[in-house]
């Protein structure tokens, strides 16, 4: 039962990892940009939520409604003012600029909030559980997070494949120049894509901050988790990314059961194994 419980917790955490990954995957899919600062943006949004909660003493889960639009707005501005200027055939400029941004955000957070770890308190929901079987129960909060992740990924999938905006994003991703010939403003579309990415980041950030302690240095590892979920699941498939997140979460939970020091290692090893034996990911996009 201990094992079943560990695996169940791993599955639920996997939803959070999939949220880390979804925004990353979206941006890469639309403009071939790998945003190294993605993890730091998650932590930044976590601190913005913290400030919100401290100032107004609202529930962190409600704070999502404030932080997500702010984060989206910031994403649009960031894309229009910075990242759009780096996009081109050379992958180096966007990579290095986002890397620089990562260092800037980390140290700015360090300067403003110090290195102390913080946590958001969501109230009684944090300890509420639902008994599933004898000796096995599911926390309400992890369950809410997982369901939210599934809903968000389903929503992104719908947006991408069934709306005019999604059509525009896919067209731009296919062929930038011809998309312009259709009258699409690529710079604006990229801004929208980054805004959506960072709105998802905000949700992930609040969940992360409620679940565990966080500090300014936590970003890179969230980036790596998200990245691993994307690759394990297979590029260009959002449901695959969810599966990738779950696999990563379970691998970490099982690793931690064997030896507490192996939690992260087990996740990385699963990632490397996928890379070695199935580099296209477990669920690559099947079309065309």
């Amino acid at each position: 039962m201990v094992w079943v419980n560990a695996i169940l917790q791993g599955v639920l955490v996997g939803g959070l990892y999939a949220l880390f990954a979804a925004g990353l995957s979206l941006i890469f899919g639309v403009m071939r940009l790998v945003n190294i600062a993605h993890g730091d943006l998650i932590v930044l949004a976590g601190y913005v939520a913290l400030t919100c909660v401290t100032l107004t003493s609202m529930n962190p889960l409600v704070a999502i409604l404030v932080v997500a639009p702010l984060s989206a707005l910031f994403g649009y501005a960031l894309q229009r003012l910075v990242f759009n200027r780096t996009l081109g055939p050379d992958i180096l400029p966007p990579l290095l600029v986002s890397f620089g941004l990562s260092v800037i955000i980390q140290n700015a957070l360090l300067q403003v909030y110090t290195a102390d770890s913080r946590k958001l308190n969501a109230g009684p929901i944090e300890i509420a559980t639902i008994p599933v079987a004898d000796g096995l129960s599911v926390g309400v909060l992890p369950l809410v997070m997982f369901v939210t992740a599934v809903v968000i990924i389903g929503g992104l999938q719908f947006m991408f494949y069934a709306t005019p905006l999604g059509r525009a994003l896919r067209a731009t991703s296919d062929d930038q120049d011809v998309a312009r010939l259709m009258g699409y403003n690529n710079k604006h579309l990229y801004g929208i894509a980054m805004a959506i990415s960072l709105a998802v980041v905000a949700v992930a950030a609040v969940f992360l901050a409620v679940r565990t302690n966080f500090d300014p240095a936590l970003g890179p590892q969230r980036l790596i988790f998200g990245f691993e979920a994307v690759i394990i699941g297979g590029l260009g498939n959002l449901w695959g990314t969810l599966a990738g997140g779950v696999i990563l979460g379970v691998a970490q939970a099982v690793g931690a059961m064997i030896n507490p020091g192996w939690q992260l290692l087990a996740g990385h090893l699963v990632f490397l194994a996928v890379l070695a034996f199935r580099p296209q990911g477990l669920f690559p996009r099947v079309d065309g």
Binding site: A171, D177, Y184
Partner: protein, 234 residues
Amino acid sequence: MADALLQIERLNAFYGTFQALFDVALDVGKGETIAVIGANSAGKSTLMKSIVGLVPTRDVSIRFKDENLAGIETHDIVRRGIALVPEGRRLFPSLSVEENLLAGGQLKRNGPWSLNTVYDLFPILRERRAQKSTSLSGGQQQMVAIGRALMANPDLLMIDELSLGLAPIVIKDIYAAMPKITTQGTAALIVEQDTGQALAVAKRVYCLRGGRVTLQGDAKTLTRAQISAAYFGV
């Protein structure tokens, strides 16, 4: 010209330091069909891309509906009523046939063209509407590309290499559709390597060679000798 739609007085285009077009002058009247002919790398594609701002230009004067297009971005030029069917069709591979058409119509300009009228023009596309665009034959892809451009309800439709790489029977079908397009009041600027087709469909013809206009005139009155002199430079 009283009812001029597109007036190019002077166009110089560059790829890096390489100059591809030299002082090209050309105009298209409202509802007129014009053909641009010339050998490979004469600058025909560059001309079309320059008009919609996809190629860097210098020392240029292009007016569309009496507005100077200099410094306007591609997507805004398209919004003003110019559509380009690019060389090689270049459909969006991850979009279905219908989604390709809808992408073309996303500006929602007013005019005769809609999904239904495009499907009436090329009935085969109605059958294939849900398929991936990559699964179509070359001719069908060209139909989608033309339909996609029409969906924007342009005042000027530009088609780059209309017949290149297509089977003769398909070329015939597509050219048969051209009058249905132009009778709706849409002007057309067609780039062709097939001089015979160009002369048959166009009112006036421009010949490009080495990035310069070497001949221009009425399609009915130009002689074969004039054209081959301009085309090959002999």
